[in-house]
């Protein structure tokens, strides 16, 4: 078991080093930091509820950066491994295919965590700076560090679910572009499904809508509702604090989801030919 962990750590380390030295990724981080600092200008145009607007803006920047990382780095890492046969270089070592999938996941997850930590740290600093620059009692009453951390964890949870799905698609289909398209489609379905469910729920009078509602509910097992992990509104608002179960349950569900998708990705890699 220890040697297995050592092998996974060795490959994860390579993925992390490769990512940290990638110029495009460094550029992305600088771009995101510039965007966050731009929040200082942004809040000047908000007439009221500056706290909530600034918080939403900063979390959107973090989410967008993570999304770009996933689609344009994580997808490419997996595709390059396959297309450029870097995968052969890795698997020529005593690394099993399961260890390969797990190592890539942990390597990319560590990079994402570093990215979120940097952006989150700067974001928190920005929120405090904005709060100190305005009349806090009128425009920026609430700012909670625990909820900021919770919202950041939720964001990271969504990103990990997408990362697991990208690994799954990378095993199932070949090439950068198909994986990119499938991952994007998956994300849009996940984002759109709650809206459709809401619309169907409003037509409960129609008997057919019951079946459709059941079907859509079942589909959320495949296409999870990411908004359940979205806690950013709690950071700078006086909204009632949700029950503990409402916080723990989405994280538990997303952990199970990531585990299942990773298991499927490992199973696919175990079976396929690496020509």
């Amino acid at each position: 078991m220890l040697s297995r962990l050592r092998r996974i750590r060795s490959l994860s380390r390579l993925i992390i080093i490769d990512g940290l030295r990638r110029h495009a990724l460094i550029g992305l981080i600088l771009f995101a930091l510039a965007g966050e600092i731009g929040g200082l200008l942004f809040f000047d145009f908000i007439p009221r509820d500056i706290g909530r607007a600034s918080n939403d803006f900063l979390f959107s920047i973090s989410w967008l950066t993570g999304f770009i990382f996933l689609l344009f780095h994580a997808v490419q890492v997996m595709a390059w491994d396959d297309e450029r046969r870097i995968l052969h270089t890795f698997l020529a070592r005593p690394i099993s295919r399961t260890e390969y999938v797990l190592a890539v996941f942990f390597g990319l997850a560590a990079l994402l965590l570093a990215l979120n930590t940097v952006l989150g740290g700067i974001g928190w600093g920005m929120l405090n700076l904005i709060r100190s620059s305005v009349d806090a009692a009128s425009y920026f009453q609430h700012l909670s560090l625990p909820f900021f951390l919770l919202a950041s964890a939720g964001l990271y949870g969504i990103e990990l679910m997408l990362l697991a799905i990208i690994l799954f698609f990378s095993g199932a289909v070949r090439g950068n572009f198909p994986v990119l398209l499938l991952s994007l489609s998956y994300y849009f379905i996940c984002s759109g499904l709650p809206v459709v469910r809401q619309a169907i729920r409003q037509q409960t009078a129609h008997p057919a809508s019951q079946y459709v509602e059941t079907l859509l509910k079942g589909l959320t097992a495949l296409f999870p509702d990411f908004s359940r992990l979205d806690f950013k509104t709690l950071v700078a608002s006086s909204d009632p604090v949700p029950a503990l179960s409402q916080i723990v349950y989405p994280f538990a569900l997303s952990s199970v989801y990531v585990l299942i998708v990773l298991w499927l990705a490992c199973a696919i890699y175990q079976r396929r030919d690496l020509e």
Partner: protein, 250 residues
């Protein structure tokens, strides 16, 4: 003697893909390689040489037949800590250095950090890459990448070396260097399987050759026997003669 590599009636067909018909890569091929032996896989492009190597490395799985490597199935990934593999073309993540790859190799083979340092220095100096050890691999020439691959393959002091076109991309000096190195490894008792289009190298370095053509085994034995069998003076002429005969029969 124990067989380090054992192929028994191995067949492999690459599955049909979009726009590509299914393709027979190996048909009922059997051969073995004893400990300390050297075998050369030769054949024209598409003969099945690389398929044999991919099967040994568990990149692909056979449709039928059985394969064993160092007494176990290629599916047992742990066995690759005793194998050094040199791919035909270098495939590295762009931003890594040869030192990163050596540390990775040592880490996966459970080598202590001190041993990794000593072995890395030894092979990088031996292959003339010490000064370039901190340069990104993307800036290496093809010959340098091939030598870097060699250093990575040899780091864990493997019992079995699998070399896919080891002279590919090398200049004449590099070719002599690698050729001498293979000879030294052979003299040191390493078991070596390599495939090459350069038949002079094969003739000089191997004990046995396996001649493949369109996935079929045409000849297995010492290089001199191939020349005698085809009544030719060189292995290259004998190879061409045998392949032409097979083509005319087909």
């Amino acid at each position: 003697m124990n067989s380090v590599i054992f192929f028994e009636n191995v067949s492999k067909t690459y599955a049909k893909q979009l726009g590509v018909l299914s393709q027979l890569a190996l048909a009922d091929v059997s051969f073995s390689l004893a400990q300390g032996g050297t075998i050369g896989l030769i054949g024209a492009n598409g003969a099945g040489k690389s398929t044999c190597i991919k099967l040994l490395m568990d990149f692909i799985r056979p449709d039928s037949g059985s394969i064993s490597i160092l007494g176990t199935s290629p599916k047992n990934s742990a066995i690759r800590s005793r194998v050094g593999y040199l791919p035909e073309t270098a495939n590295f993540p762009a931003n890594l250095t040869v030192l990163d790859m050596l540390r990775f190799t040592g880490g996966t083979c459970n080598l202590p950090p001190q041993d990794i340092r000593v072995a890395s220095e030894k092979w990088l100096c031996c292959l003339g890459l010490w000064d370039a050890r901190k340069r990104p691999l993307r800036n290496f020439s093809k010959g340098m990448q091939q030598r870097a691959n060699f250093a990575i393959a040899l780091l864990n002091d493997p019992d079995l070396l699998i070399l896919d076109e080891p002279m590919s991309g090398l200049d004449p000096i590099g070719r002599v260097m690698i050729s001498d190195l293979i000879q030294q490894l052979k003299d040191a008792g390493k078991t070596i399987l390599f495939c090459s289009h350069i038949l002079e190298d094969v003739d000089r370095l191997v004990d046995n050759i396996l001649l493949l053509h369109k996935g079929k085994k045409l000849f297995y034995g010492p290089p001199a026997d191939l020349a005698v069998q085809e009544q030719k003076t060189s292995i290259a002429e004998a190879f061409v003669s045998m392949v032409q005969k097979e083509e005319s029969h087909a």
